[in-house]
């Protein structure tokens, strides 16, 4: 079994996220986004790669959309209404609620720019009818075999990571996520899952971001200084996400500092979005959830609706105006009025698309902007650049990959060279096979297949009873600090081998079975064979008077004395092993030695025949495991005199 991942978008780039994963016969499309940078056919994913005939209903089991950003959902109405996909679409409740706003806004902007319309309002409405909303951690049985589950992802409200499982194969598609919380959203949260594949975004594959507090401090300081000096602050922003985040931040600061300067929201989308946010408390950060009972954080006390007549009203104020990046619309209108005064402040997001006024403002100290050939704006106001980003940084990605420890990982939604660096890190530090495919490529990875096995009674019983062993493992450590000589390090360690006592037996035509190792021989009908070594050799004796006469008639008593003498010698010389004196026999681990009374011992080498009166023969047996020890003992015995 294998998992095939066809990358339709966001492969080694940021934009039009779209990924079709075939997993145990099911095909899931994760995200259906559009690329904002193109206006031609490259704008949408190449859906023909899914099915040549255009029969998407049979080619796909379902579509899953992670969140409402256009690069994740923008192509969805086109895919369902124009291309004709009619199957199920899954997304979270907030995504379903807010996606139409985003799509409609985009459609209007397209209209305004005079581009050819890809889909209509009706298309959006029709498309949304096909959507099945899901909740966090709710397991949805898409069909008999396919299970999906959403996990909190941070990023924007309603963003989710999706877990999908078919049979034994399981995977997670993260979409965009954020591992650090911000004011209104929590950090991504997922369970420890057994995964074959993790597909993760990698927007900041190499960046490590600093603390959020620093960014907030800078922003608040700039805004406070401006309003304290009587200036006006313009915050051009998109309606969803950033606007609420900044507003909560300002609201909190206003409360604490007792500021009375009005904060305005330009009417329209933002007001509508705030209404949704108020209802989606469940998807926000811990703090907002905690205080919700007493005060809904999206009930902004200091925020008022903006009236156009207020643009030139005297006195300080803060205004949130759409759209972001000052691409046009109301934010441009206000900007034209406010830009000429150096008291005023414009805050810009960290990223502005080239060609927008925002981008021009960021690129350098400007004094004039030519709007069109008739209009020119004098820019004297202060510019503050925000660097709030709802994406996780490299550390966050590593954390998630480490936490989930999948067997394979695929990076998408990032820049190619940075992704390559991250890929190397994942492979080297975590030992996880990692890929970063380009668009329209397919990655195939093997998937898990579990075998069900019976277990024998003995094995189960042995599993129930603890069976731990303590051992002192020895190893030699040469690098220990500055000492040149190698130092033996021994450490107490404990092991419990219940599982290793089992042996998996797969017989032809029968179900696999796990049995206890003791049963194994019995099952095979074989006997246990052991290899033993034996050696018989003479040992030098000190000549004593009483021994000389009776040297050939060693009685059992003498055998015992000899053995005990030998035991004394060995215990002096031998550092390891436990010497057991068993009367006529001496045992060290599996090594056994006894006095050999037979003259024609089969283990005796003829060459070792010596003067019998001065030596006595010892017969040794040992098993293969203790060979080293045995030869050590034998050499000690040969070199010493009894």
């Amino acid at each position: 079994m294998a998992i095939d991942c066809l990358v339709l978008g966001a492969g080694q780039e940021v934009g039009k996220s779209c990924m079709v994963v075939s997993i145990n016969g099911k095909r899931i499309m994760f995200d259906c986004g559009m690329h904002m940078g193109y206006t031609d056919s490259r704008r949408y994913p190449d859906f023909s790669l899914i099915s040549k005939t255009g029969d998407f209903d049979n080619a796909l089991t379902c579509v899953i959309v992670t969140h409402f950003h256009l690069d994740h959902i923008g192509a969805l109405p086109y895919f369902t209404e124009v291309c004709g996909y009619k199957g199920p679409i899954y997304m979270t409740y907030p995504t379903k609620a807010l996606a139409p706003l985003m799509l409609e806004d985009y459609r209007k902007n397209m209209d305004r720019r005079g581009e050819d319309e890809q889909f209509t309002s009706d298309h959006i409405a029709e498309c949304m009818k096909k959507v099945i909303p899901v909740n966090l951690k709710q397991t949805v049985q898409v069909d008999k075999d396919l299970q999906i589950r959403a996990y909190y992802a941070g990023h924007v409200i309603g963003a989710a990571m999706f877990y999908a499982k078919v049979g034994d194969a399981a995977m997670v598609y993260t979409g965009d996520y954020n591992m650090t919380p911000d004011r209104h959203l929590g950090a991504a949260q997922i369970d420890r899952l057994q995964l074959d594949l993790l597909i993760t975004e990698s927007t900041y594959a190499t960046t490590i971001r600093d603390s959020r507090y620093g960014r907030e401090r800078e922003f608040l300081k700039a805004v406070h200084n401006c309003v304290a000096a009587g200036g006006k602050v313009l915050i051009p922003t998109f309606a969803l996400g950033r606007a609420q985040e900044l507003c909560i931040l300002l609201e909190d600061y206003w409360e604490r500092m007792n500021l009375k300067v009005p904060i305005y929201f330009s009417a329209g989308l933002t007001i509508q979005a705030n209404m949704y946010y108020k209802m989606l408390i469940n998807w926000t950060s811990q703090k907002i959830k905690e205080t919700y009972a007493t005060h809904n954080a999206f009930d902004f006390k200091n925020v008022r609706n903006f009236d156009r007549s207020l643009i030139n009203a005297p006195g300080p104020c803060v205004l949130f105006a759409t759209p972001g990046m000052i691409v046009g619309g109301f934010s441009l209108k206000v900007f034209m009025q406010w830009a000429p005064s150096e008291n005023n402040l414009v805050t810009l997001p960290g990223y502005c698309v080239a060609g927008t006024i925002g981008h021009k403002l960021m690129s350098g100290k400007l004094t004039k902007i030519d709007l069109d050939k008739d209009t020119q704006i004098n820019v004297r106001c202060q510019i503050h650049q925000l660097s709030f980003s709802p994406h996780t940084d490299a550390k966050g990605i590593m954390d998630l990959v480490k936490f989930l420890s999948p067997k394979h990982a695929i990076l998408v939604h990032g820049e190619k060279p940075k992704m390559a660096t991250l890929k190397e890190r994942i492979q080297s530090e975590l030992g996880i096979q990692c890929y970063c495919p380009a668009n329209n490529e397919t990655v195939t990875i093997p998937s898990t297949h579990y075998v069900k096995a019976d277990a024998s009674g003995t094995f189960i019983r042995s599993c129930l009873n603890p069976n731990f062993k303590f051992s002192t493992c020895s190893s030699t450590d040469k690098s220990y600090l500055d000492s040149n000589k190698s130092k033996a390090v021994s450490r107490l360690s404990v092991s419990d081998d219940r599982a290793t006592e089992g042996i998996l037996v797969v017989e032809k035509g029968k179900k696999a079975k796990v049995i206890h190792q003791d049963e194994f021989l019995h099952m095979l009908g074989e006997k246990k064979h052991e290899i033993q070594f034996a050696y018989c050799f003479p040992m030098h004796m000190a000549r004593t008077e009483d021994l000389s006469s009776t040297s050939h008639m060693l009685c059992s008593f003498d055998k015992c004395t000899l053995i005990s003498r030998l035991s004394m010698i060995l215990s002096d010389e031998l550092s390891e092993g436990n010497i057991l004196d068993l009367g006529e026999e001496l045992q060290v681990e599996s090594f056994r030695v006894s006095v050999c009374s037979s003259d024609n011992c089969p283990h005796r080498l003829s060459s070792s025949l010596q003067n019998g009166s001065e030596s006595v023969f010892f017969c040794c047996h040992w098993s293969v495991a203790d060979e080293k020890l045995a030869w050590k003992i034998i050499s000690i015995m040969k070199n010493s005199t009894l």
Binding site: T180, P181, R183, G186, A187, Q189, I190, R192, I208, R209, D210, S211, R212, Y213, G214, E216, R217, L220, K221, H224, I248, D252, Y253, E255, R256, M257, N258, S285, Q286, K287, K395, D399, F403, R461, C463, L464, N465, P466, F468, F470, T472, S475, D477, Y480, L481, V489, S490, R491, L492, S493, V494, S495, D496, R498
Partner: protein, 966 residues
């Protein structure tokens, strides 16, 4: 009576029947039926069952245990035995013996063993009957629950450490996560209690714990974090000296890896552990504050033990990452552990300060407070280096809307030491801004300015030079003294001579004289440093001389001696005067003022000084007492109404006194109480001593007056502590008078009780005289003498009203002089959220619970408190309040205790709703209750510490339907 006997007879017949039937079935070798077991249980739990029956029950159980091996039966038998042991303590040894018997505890069935084990443990009677071998063999048995139970309770079973160590270490390998957790917890306990010096063992345990840091279960991981911390510390201890630092660093890094865990509990645990590791090198500490791996730490790996290599990069940004955690618990715990680590390194403290300054923007107030606390801690350990980039952020907190945050910030400013004048000026501006926006903070701002100015003598002089024109009188010779800004600068100016810098003579002396005109306001602000008199002395001294005079030094020294160590500046004490104003400690109050006064070298009006800041109040109070004494002469003349009028006027006057300053509340309350006593006494006196005969109506009225008088007297003698002996004696005089008055009128006298009270009071008076070697007054001697005479002369208990009347003549009211600071014993009682609209639920006939929120002021722990709950006139119930059982936060007696006590009300009536009145009474030991004793109630009379509180109760079903309507 007949019915009870009948019932008893029936019961014993039933018992007999049950026992007989059981015996019968046992004799026939039949197992006990479940019905029989159930009736045995009813016998056991019935408190009326006689012991003889129970011992036959035990016999029956013993026999049936020998007969029956059915596991279900054995399970029930265990339950019965545990019931028996817990219900009848004197029979429990037998029951326990049975539990330990072969058929139960020693049986082969692990479930049974587990059950009997938990029963034995719950009865705390296991120990000897479990040897190590049995413990180990049970642990090694297949039952997981028994294993878990044994591991958890291994402490109680007390074995040799080696056995426990082997078992715990072994079971960290168990496949069941809960067993692993118990084993780790056991290892932690063992490590704390035990005494290990075998490095192999320590390493083994440490390594095993480190392995379990990667466990799949959250609770195992948090247990592993604890274990790594404890064993890691042991590892550090047993390392050779030159490796100690490395080992410690390695343990720190190991724990640092866990702060990025997905589980909240593990993160919390990890920070707690990080705070415990003392010895950490600076490089690593700094690394925790930077997400990027620092150059110095690149490729640096630690190897505390072979095979456990760990790289510093693992700990990179540990703090920075977690200070922005989603959960405020984690943020706070990170702040807290940071706080303990800042002590070790100045550089680390500086870096951490950046973070803490950012934390001041946190959205949760508790986190902000914790951050400020951490900064404060840095300041006290002298590791606070404020830089320019911080100062704006920091000063903006001074205008925070939360007063706690503001006061904490000022607390830090009081300790701050700034290197540059610019920063100093910014801080002063910040404080002025604070004062402007929140005028209510004035006192504390002035205090902060004083401390701040004192710590920066030169800067202060400098800034005063700058603003001097502002402080000068405006044209026309008028000082703009209504400006708080001027006050602030004045405070700053007068702090300069107390700084430890030499060159501070530049403050023009006239400024000090300006400050004198502000004396009240300034001294209020500086009340934690010096009192008004001392401030005045100081100011006048400074205004006289342009150079630092001898007097200044004296003051300086006086301040220092008071505050402890002369060599270190005020601010570097951990318990700075700011956090713990010493004058609040009532014990040392007179000593402190005394000492301070002497060191100023003046001796006049010593007595007045002893009174400290309340001297003014006390003066007024004592004037009132004088007035009272004067009006008593009116009473003696028979002009009771006029006298009472005068006393009431005094009462009004006293009521208008402010009670804001600490300690004054008690004095005012005491005075009021005294006035009330005198008023009642005057009324009674008027009635009794009037020449005309008593009319029948009058008796009832008199009785009422007496009751009131008694109550007042009880209150004044029991509700105030901290009175001197002289003061107490004066009150006892009044008690004696009241007794005599009672005895002097036959019509109303309950002679025995009054005599008893009289003699006990006299005895107490005598005791006090001896104790304090005070001469008894004429009146007391007279009373004593006549009492003695009465005892010896007449055995008849008949009263001698005439004698007592005569005694009363010798009484004249002494002027009461208040010396000390009496503290009022009082309480507040509330039932949160209860009113007639929101009654508490109850079920008729079943006790209702009433949650009382109680605040006690100055109540000594040894006093006996009762909650009195009464329903109408007919039913009153007392509940004893054991103060020893109530968690006491502070040890001092001047404590305000707040707690919630759930009082049961037993006799709930059969009604839809009713009200009860609750109050809190203090038992007065000197007075015995002479009425019929309430069962279980107080033995002595109660003094009520708070007004009665009405509590509404409503039948519980009614409540629901009612709330459904509304």
């Amino acid at each position: 009576m007949g019915r009870v006997a009948e019932l008893e007879r029936r019961q014993s017949a039933m018992e007999l029947h049950v026992i007989n039937s059981i015996q019968q079935s046992l004799d026939n070798n039949q197992p006990l039926s479940f019905q029989a077991l159930a009736s045995l249980r009813s016998l056991i739990i019935n408190p009326a069952t006689p012991d003889s029956t129970l011992s036959s029950v035990l016999d029956a159980l013993t026999r049936s245990l020998q007969l029956n091996r059915d596991p279900v039966f054995l399970h029930h038998a265990v339950k019965l035995l545990s019931d028996l042991a817990s219900h009848r303590p004197h029979l429990s040894p037998f029951a326990l013996d049975l539990l330990r018997s072969d058929s139960l505890f020693s049986s082969a069935s692990p479930r049974l063993v587990g059950e009997s084990l938990s029963v034995l443990l719950s009865l705390a009677s296991i120990g000897n009957d479990m040897d190590a071998a049995r413990f180990v063999s049970l642990c090694l048995g297949p039952s997981v629950s028994v294993r878990q139970c044994l591991l958890r309770n291994a402490e109680k079973l007390v074995f040799r450490e080696s056995v426990l160590l082997a078992v715990f270490l072994g079971f960290t390998r168990d496949p069941y996560p809960y067993v692993r957790k118990e084993a780790l917890d056991g290892l932690v306990k063992l490590c704390k209690n035990g005494d290990f010096d075998d490095r192999d063992v320590i390493e083994g345990c440490y390594c095993r714990a480190v392995e379990l840091l990667r466990d799949a279960e959250n609770y195992v991981r948090s247990a592993a974090v604890r274990a790594v911390c404890e064993w890691g510390r042991l590892l550090v201890i047993c390392s050779e000296d030159m490796n100690k630092q490395d080992s410690s660093d390695a343990v720190f890094i190991q724990l640092g890896c866990m702060v990025r865990d997905m589980s909240l509990d593990v993160r919390l645990e990890a920070f707690e552990a990080l705070g415990k590791i003392g010895l950490v090198s600076e490089d690593i500490l700094l690394q925790t504050l930077s997400k990027k791996v620092l150059g110095i730490n690149k490729d640096k790996a630690y190897k505390p033990i072979e095979g456990l290599d760990i790289s510093v990069s693992a700990v990179a940004g540990a703090y920075i990452h977690r200070l922005e955690d989603e959960f405020s618990e984690v943020r706070m715990s990170a702040c807290y552990s940071l706080r303990t680590l800042t002590v070790f390194s100045l550089r680390f403290a500086c870096e951490a300060l950046n973070l803490m300054m950012d934390m001041l923007n946190d959205d949760s107030t508790v986190s902000r407070l914790q951050a400020l606390d951490t900064i404060h801690h840095m300041a006290t350990s002298d590791h606070l280096k404020v830089e320019k980039i911080h100062i704006h952020r920091f000063l903006s907190v001074l205008v925070d809307s939360s007063s706690v945050i503001r006061s904490m910030t000022r607390k830090i400013l009081k300790l701050a030491k700034l290197p540059q004048f610019e920063l100093f000026k910014l801080c002063i501006d910040g404080l002025l801004g604070n004062l402007e926006i929140y005028p209510q903070d004035e006192a504390d701002v002035l205090s902060a300015l004083f401390h701040f100015g004192r710590n920066h003598g030169k800067f202060t002089v400098h800034i005063i030079e700058e603003v001097a024109p502002e402080m000068e009188p405006a044209s026309g010779g008028k000082l703009s003294f209504d400006s708080t800004r001027v006050a602030a600068f004045l405070v700053l100016a007068i702090s300069a001579p107390l700084s430890h810098e030499k060159d501070v003579s530049a403050i023009p002396p006239r400024i000090f004289s300006y400050a004198v005109t502000w004396l009240g306001r300034i001294s209020y602000g500086l009340s934690d440093i010096m009192n008004q008199e001392k401030l005045l002395a100081y100011l006048s001294e400074c205004s006289r001389s342009s150079t630092i005079s001898l007097a200044d030094f004296k003051i300086n020294e006086a301040l220092l001696t008071v505050e402890g160590d002369a060599s270190i500046p005020l601010c570097s004490k951990v318990d700075s005067p700011v956090s713990m104003p010493f004058w609040k400690d009532s014990g040392g109050i007179s000593d402190y003022h005394h000492q301070e006064f002497l060191s100023l070298g003046k001796s006049a009006a010593h007595a007045e000084y002893e009174l400290g800041e309340h001297s003014e109040l006390r003066k007024y109070v004592n004037l009132i007492f004088k007035k009272v004494k004067d009006s008593w002469s009116l009473v003696e003349l028979g002009c009771t109404t006029e006298a009472c009028k005068g006393i009431r006027a005094c009462k009004e006057e006293v009521a208008s006194f402010t009670t804001e300053s600490p300690g004054s509340f008690g004095a005012v309350a005491f005075t009021l109480q005294y006035l009330q006593v005198i008023e009642m006494l005057a009324k009674v006196w008027g009635h009794l001593r009037a020449t005309k005969m008593l009319n029948p109506n009058g008796v009832g009225k008199l009785e009422l007056l007496f009751a009131k008088l008694d109550r007042r007297l009880r209150e004044i003698s029991n509700r105030f502590i901290g009175l001197s002996k002289g003061e107490e004696l004066q009150i006892l005089d009044l008690v004696l008078v009241a007794c005599l008055l009672r005895l002097s009128k036959v019509e109303i006298c309950c002679c025995n009780a009054a005599m008893k009270l009289l003699s006990s009071t006299v005895a107490h008076v005598e005791y006090l005289h001896k104790e304090g070697s005070i001469e008894p007054s004429n009146f007391v001697t007279e009373v004593k003498k006549s009492l003695h005479d009465a005892d010896s002369s007449s055995s008849s208990s008949s009263c001698q009203p005439l004698l007592f009347k005569k005694l009363l003549d010798s009484f004249s009211l002494q002027q009461f002089v208040l010396y000390g600071t009496p503290r009022s014993v009082h309480a507040e009682l509330a039932v949160p959220g209860n009113d007639s609209e929101n009654p508490l639920p109850f079920i008729p006939g079943i006790p209702a619970s009433i949650p009382l929120a109680i605040t006690l002021h100055n109540v000594l722990t040894e006093s006996r408190l009762w909650v009195r709950i009464s329903m109408g006139e007919e039913s009153t119930q007392f509940v004893f309040l054991d103060l020893n059982l109530i968690r006491n936060k502070k040890r001092s007696i001047n404590v305000v205790r707040e707690f919630t006590f759930v009082a049961p009300f037993y006799r709930t009536p059969k009604a839809v709703s009713f009200t009860v009145r609750a109050s809190l009474g203090l038992e007065c030991f000197r007075e015995n209750v002479d009425r019929v004793k309430v069962f279980g109630g107080p033995k002595c009379e109660l003094t009520y510490l708070c007004p009665e509180k009405e509590i509404f109760l409503c039948k519980s079903t009614e409540c629901k339907s009612k709330s459904a309507f509304t």
